[in-house]
Symmetry: D3
Subunit: 326 residues, 6 copies
């Protein structure tokens, strides 16, 4: 079971210049073989299928808990894609449908507009759907961990390349954050293998051989120590990760830490504006708002929506640090 928090793990900038081709490439980080959907579902399925978990509890807890963090990563990638697509079709002008989408007819992934509502799809950068064959869950603990270390390595490679391919602020904020957090998972699986077999995989860091700290957009997160921490994403469970996730960081030598009592503060989602040309959430979104307002009233809810969303007026802490660096 999960409890869902209506909040992102890190702040993303508001929509700026739309970038459909950029968004098509960021899809690799969502639905690609090494995307966040793959990390999420690999660790999730491995935790479901874990046999003899009491005997191997620290390892079970590690895999199950990282799985929980990955859910927040698919959120972030999806939010980034939505941000980059916002504005790619014109706002409503009260007129009947015309040629509102002609400007994107040569976009790399026109299904963002035809199938989706300028939103994320469960596809990679080539428009190929994510699929269950990307999940490896052999049940053999050493082998599953070997896979996970390799998967995080491939994921780091892909994040670095999407970083290099994208200057859109949302893509940069995303990759800066994911590189730091993915790095922690890469370390966690290397350490787990070391604990089980004695093989010192941490000598392989960094792979690709460029230190994370050289990426400007990673700096704010590193400065807050995010490259060292494994959060426990559960009210009461997964308490034994500390038995595996400890010792020195392979690159910096600093002590790795388990954060027991809180998850990343993060930020509320931005309420991305309707895109009526693609009928998201409707050709005439105000009708839905009126109905919603009536329903909320009838249910005795407050007049203003109870859900929190980011206010574009205030910029977050991360943004400000990034500002200084760039």
């Amino acid at each position: 079971m999960i409890l869902r928090l209506d909040r992102l793990q890190t702040e993303l900038p508001p929509p700026s210049d739309p970038d459909p081709d950029g968004a098509s490439n960021v899809q690799e980080l969502l639905g690609g073989r090494f995307g966040e959907m793959s990390t999420l579902m690999n660790y999730t399925m491995q935790s479901f299928n874990f046999r003899g978990r009491q005997g191997a509890r620290p390892f079970y807890d590690l895999v199950a808990n990282i799985a929980a963090e990955e859910y927040g990563h698919i959120e972030l990638v999806a939010a980034t894609i939505n941000t980059m697509l916002t504005g790619a079709s014109p706002p409503a002008d009260g007129r009947p449908p015309g040629d509102a989408l002609e400007g994107v007819k040569s976009a790399r992934n026109t299904q963002h507009f035809i199938a989706g509502g300028q939103g994320a799809l469960l596809q990679d950068s080539a428009g190929k759907p994510w699929n269950g064959d990307y999940v490896f869950s052999s049940g053999d603990l050493v082998e599953d961990l070997t896979h996970n270390f390799f998967l995080e390595t491939g994921a780091r490679n892909n994040k670095l390349k999407v970083y290099e391919m994208s200057t859109h602020p949302a893509a940069r904020a995303l990759t800066g954050y994911l590189l730091v957090r993915g790095g922690v998972h890469q370390i966690a699986y290397a350490r787990a293998l070391e604990r089980l077999t004695g093989a010192d995989l941490t000598k392989m860091f960094p792979t690709p051989r460029i230190p994370t700290e050289k990426i400007p957009e990673c700096q704010p997160h590193i400065q807050r120590g995010e490259h060292l921490k494994l959060y426990r994403f559960s009210p009461d469970d997964y308490r034994e990760i500390v038995a595996v996730f400890n010792g020195p960081h392979p690159e910096t030598g600093e002590d790795l830490q388990v954060v027991e009592d809180r998850v990343p503060e993060g930020a509320p989602w931005r309420d991305l504006p309707p895109q009526p040309a693609v009928f998201a959430p409707d050709y005439a979104p105000e009708e839905i708002s009126e109905i919603a307002q009536r329903l909320r009233q009838a249910a005795g809810l407050p007049k203003e929506p109870t859900g929190a969303v980011a206010s574009d007026g205030e910029r977050g802490v991360v943004d400000k640090v990034v500002d200084k660096l760039t």
Copy 2:
């Protein structure tokens, strides 16, 4: 973000007679077009892509919150498949590998053994991987809800058929529970459409046209009112589902309820035994236990694993009611 609870939404029986072909069919409920992975990821992606969510907050909250419950459903299906596969290979006998898997060489899905460790795969009943094309997220609210109503209808059909195809206790416990909870989601989407358009879809219930209450394994859940309740799967968010999910149940006329302050009590996962013939979690699982024990000690953790698992000695409430009925 999510917080993960190491607990199942309902209790499943312990392993009994292994049933590999049965497990291969239950896979449809995990990785089939209408399986729980589909309901999970459809509602999850729709919530990520929801534009203008403040204006449509009750609908956003509904979709996002049901998505959260679905996570618990993929857990249940995976646990059932693992249960049904347990025992299909012999226990370790200290000898080198022999013909431990010959007995399953004609099983419908031998990848349960070759690729997996007698565990669930992200596939359907034909061994085809779940894929991202099963996700529909148009951004158009009325259309997405229409899809969701149809999806739940197809899911109910598949659950009923897997029920009829399986007498294994785990499959029956699973389908009995899912039919009741899926029914609630089917109602929720029908009601949401009614609120937005005025169309009374509740007249279409039940589809297929067999009342849920006729299924014996559904009875315990119905008796506890589980067919009427929508749980809020979040500490603080998704408070506006109550604006949509209300009014009479389409079949019984009873009042629908939102449960604000707790999620289903459920039950701890069972700690399914190792299956050394498939190296899950190892050819010699006791070695892993010893390492784990040492690591836990070094980390100052208690001697006994801190995670809770079901004790086979005690049978759960649901089981007892089922006993009476069957």
Copy 3:
């Protein structure tokens, strides 16, 4: 069994400026999940698999008959794609192959040229092949109809978006026609569900929430009442559709009509010119013509080809009305 008529259901304009990227997007209406191949094969397979059809004859007739109309729709989309691709490679110049296709090397779908002869492929807008998983045929009548209503809703969404993405005259003529005819099918399935369950789905119209009549290219067809008529596409069969398809149009209130004695007049196919750079129908098409001429003579056929094709000199009725409107 079918009898095939060498004629299109509506007239399409002659080739004008080639538009390969536009054609790549129109492919969604042929081979996409909600394309015409999907509507064709869903209803076709449902009719093949219909059990107890005498008892449910009006519903069987409805599904089987709409399937027959859909065949004409895949023809129209394919003809449009061919039209839009015509001229994208230069005419024959008697010289050996050179760089005739260099101008399209960055086209979205270069397989139009490499695999095809500047013709339609059975793919969607991302170049992914149509596949049999898009067919839903559960055998449960209420469920199949629910699916069909949802399918037509998704199809309408996609047609609207392809309309907005394309200003090419052929794409506009196509979508203008399909929106009107697909709307009739959407109504037919909603009405069928109403007849079976009492649920008034017609309140959900239009979805997406933009009336069809606002699309200029739909107007000529609406003015001829095409939004109200269901043609019987059979010499003698499917006579009971009238038992389901009746009552008021959900948007306009006008009476729905079954046309028993004729199918749409339509128009002959245009004879699209050879594209020798892609060897369609040959590198030297005149050789084929000569052989064909000899064979026809030997068979005692008239000197001129017996098949009718559209003459570019005369513009059709529809074109003329469109002219006025635009």
Copy 4:
């Protein structure tokens, strides 16, 4: 455009012993790479994409007309699969769902029951969906015909093997008919290539090298000359096939014939009985019948359904000849 006739091209026997595994293999003839869906859609797409068709009219007519006959073939395969699956679940007994499908839990294709209503799926014998990549439409006439000849060769191979694998009467009636008719198409494409290039492909007959006449179930059709005739499946079009389809039959030397004025008499579809365990057409089919009856009455239709279905009491001509031979 097509006109659809509610009639099969040949008669199939009534359901007898259900044969789910047999049906799973017959699927190859529907949705396999060389199945009837492939022949249908290859020739259909080639006809849509045919450029310069006036100049090559006899060849266009040939391809377009054979495409029309193939539609009748997917009907026949689907009807066969439905026939073989009938009875594999028990008739309704008025009780709630139990274990009606347990008997088929180890069937090769359980999606016949879970996804379908004991009906045909658009899959091959391995449960893999038919897909658009099976369509070859290069636009190059010689090359498309070369493909078609190869496709018919592969199709003949598959029909022969499904014949050898199946003794179920419906499968035998199907393959007996399809072998004869597919043989005609194989000849037609070989002859067309001969007309265009001078290459005498007819020397390659038969491939595989077993004469069709040795198959007992082919005999009734051969005796009626069905191995020599190409029917024109159109009221008025495709008149020039006679310019290509003529000359001696490659195996027997008899004259090939074009039948201009009629299509095969065939037989009405059988009205296969409901299978309530899979909700086809409903859990309680009689309710649908009552509603249908009311609707027909309201529409002024006769009391008895107007559609013709085969009467199990009378056996067809083909059956009787088969009787004698076996």
Copy 5:
């Protein structure tokens, strides 16, 4: 470029009892994600894409040379599948086709008979085709080697399980050989990573944690030192593998060796008998033999075929050792 030798890397036993379901599982070792087609094409593509290969020559040579050995492995798996399928249909009896394949209608993979001629398909154990997404070729040397180590680990897992699932002599001879040779490749990639990064991956051996030497069918190969040798599969190239492949074997401590001057002696292919029921190589194979005989004579070739095939009369060395052990 390659030179092909008409010889297998190790001897396989002659056909004995046919085992179609066994063969369907062995397919995993040919076309599965971790099958030999994957090892072949991963290393092959990595060698094609290797940039800066002069600077990294020992590593290039290693990858390119192992790729060459893998070709011999797909041969062996295919030969095994053919062996296991031989005899599953009856020999020719001079009669027309009857029900020769009825006995295999419930086989797990009937496409062995329908699509193939009782021969190997490029599929996995679920009948899913091998595909290019199984190839990982990032160009980053450390990452590609990490992948290769993981791939060999997964491959070893699958071989062990197919071993346990199969008692057919051909499957046992195959897996006994592949486990030994795959083990060498697993070591080679671990050593290469150690050379590049210093990480001692050899501590992870064996994975799964069962020593290869415990498998009786591996013993003959181990006794000949095959677990220590890397053959250079090239007349003149790939001379620098020796710079990487050296040092102690991770399990036994023995010295690893590069064999420079010869490849494994192996054994000729067996000439598996025709299976006329599936038309392999023909319905009447003797006709082909006669034609071939005439052609060879006309070309001045010797009267007896020049190609060498295994004689069933003599059993090979490996077989004899296996005999003793079992």
Copy 6:
């Protein structure tokens, strides 16, 4: 078994202007349905599955030997793609990752950069992976040969179109060579069919109907007689191809020849430069070189790498002839 030669079958020009979209189209010749991977694996699998091969030895030898040549063709296509991608990202500048890939963010296939290291992928021009369903291996010799003739025909069509779409020197050198060599294989299969059945398929040449000699880039190869020769790609085997491959060339009437004692001289691979922006072979390739140097020294290898690579200073014979012609 194979022996691998570190050499290409023909010379390719050095990298010049990078052409990512061009490279994306050349992928069709590697991983497309009619690409070289298909020809390689079709003939390879057919040779593995060949039953009764002694009786049909000349045909077995033909198929097995052409398979061996095809391996060299996938090398050539991969090398071409690598050449065309070289330079598409900037050289290393010692700075941290920036926007090195922004220039290719709208490329047709961005996975060349994200998944690969500016190297070839096993995909077609639409980014769809090559898959095992492209392999046809029925075991029926006449049918397999019919397929092979058709496959080569489709391959020739695709090569001609990629030629017309690409003016990049590497693509032109590639297609010029492949058209000539593929033409030989097309003839070989036609002749084999003629030998077996008497059907004179050579009358169908050329298909598409444009003589190969009209392509300037084919001229150098034709002038050296490469359109007439079948090389025996084996030290000792496949000696009976001469029994089939003989007689006149269908277009020129010249005598076909079997080259027994040598394979094409070809050319060494070019050592394409690192592309550090995509980490190929590393972010800092010089580190790998230093390690390699040390390892080679320790192994007693010469100081200079032993492998031969093309020197960019000298242009090959083929290039010079092409120079004159263009």
